[in-house]
Amino acid sequence: MLLIACPNCGKRPETEFRCGGQAHIARPADPMAVDDGGWSEHLFVRANPKGVHAERWCHIHGCGRWFNALRDTISDRFVETYPIGEQPKSGVKPGTILGPNSATQSETRA
């Protein structure tokens, strides 16, 4: 079973988690200045990269808290998990395609 490193609870089985879609989507600071096209972009249009993707995840059957994760959509490996409101530390950019042998946070963590 895939283990996901929750920032609060450590490595836990994947069935305890729910995915909440793409992370780091900020609501426009001045909504009145956004036209209809801009709003539909903000509300509905999401990235669907092949490779590393920044996502929100919720440890719903554990601590119940949301966090962010970088996940490789090809191999389903989690590169890094980090708290809401922070930026990833590993320096891997979303959209990167990882090599088959790259170590990830949840695998290197004791």
Binding site: C9, R12, T15, G62, G64
Partner: protein, 196 residues
């Protein structure tokens, strides 16, 4: 406690069924009696954390503390599940409210929502692992651990208060027959039918 306060009478969903005492590799799955339980949500300020019944609120996440009667399990950064004797429910609630004076919080009596099942015996962890994917080894889930997790299709809170192989499974009342049935099935799998 001598005085009894008004409590809605509770019919236990699993009755008072008891499996025979452990034999051989025996694991006993025993529904616990009625207990008082509270769900506490509060955001702790940095530094000073209030204590409830002598137990620190700022204990690490996924740990449980007990003073013999009351247990306090920290399930998340701002969430605790508290258990205590059934007769003291009203007393405890008042005491907790006093201890939390000045801290914005929500303290809800969930005694009737939860059902406890005690799983004990040398192979108790193996029985739980029939439905719970968590690593229950000594290093990963030492005495004093408590966490919300899954057992089969049901959400449970798993509590290991002491070094003895005794686990408390807390589930919601409507899930209790499923959880109890699953645990009993798992005992068959661990012990083998010859033991029955």
């Amino acid at each position: 406690m001598l005085e009894t306060r008004y409590r809605a009478a509770r019919a236990l969903p699993l009755g008072a069924q008891t499996r025979s005492a452990p034999t051989g590799s025996g694991v006993s799955v025993r529904p616990a009696g009625a207990e008082a339980r509270f769900s506490l949500r509060a955001r702790l300020a940095k530094g000073a954390a209030p204590k409830l019944a002598g137990l620190a609120l700022d204990a690490p996440i996924n740990t449980v503390g007990t003073d013999g009667e009351v247990w306090l399990a920290r399930l998340g950064p701002d969430e605790w599940l508290i258990g205590g004797p059934e007769a003291d429910a009203d007393l405890l609630q008042g005491r907790f409210h006093d201890a939390l004076a000045g801290v914005p919080h929500s303290l809800v009596d969930v005694s009737h929502r939860n059902v406890g099942i005690d799983v004990s015996g040398r192979q108790a962890a193996a029985v739980l692992n029939a439905g719970c994917p968590l690593d229950l080894s000594e290093t990963a889930f030492p005495p004093g651990s408590a966490t919300r997790t899954l057992l089969g299709k049901s959400e449970i809170v798993l509590i290991r208060a002491s070094a003895a192989p005794l686990y408390r499974v807390e589930c919601w009342r409507s899930f209790s027959t499923y959880v109890h049935g699953l645990l009993n099935e798992a005992v068959f799998g661990v012990e083998g039918p010859a033991a029955h």
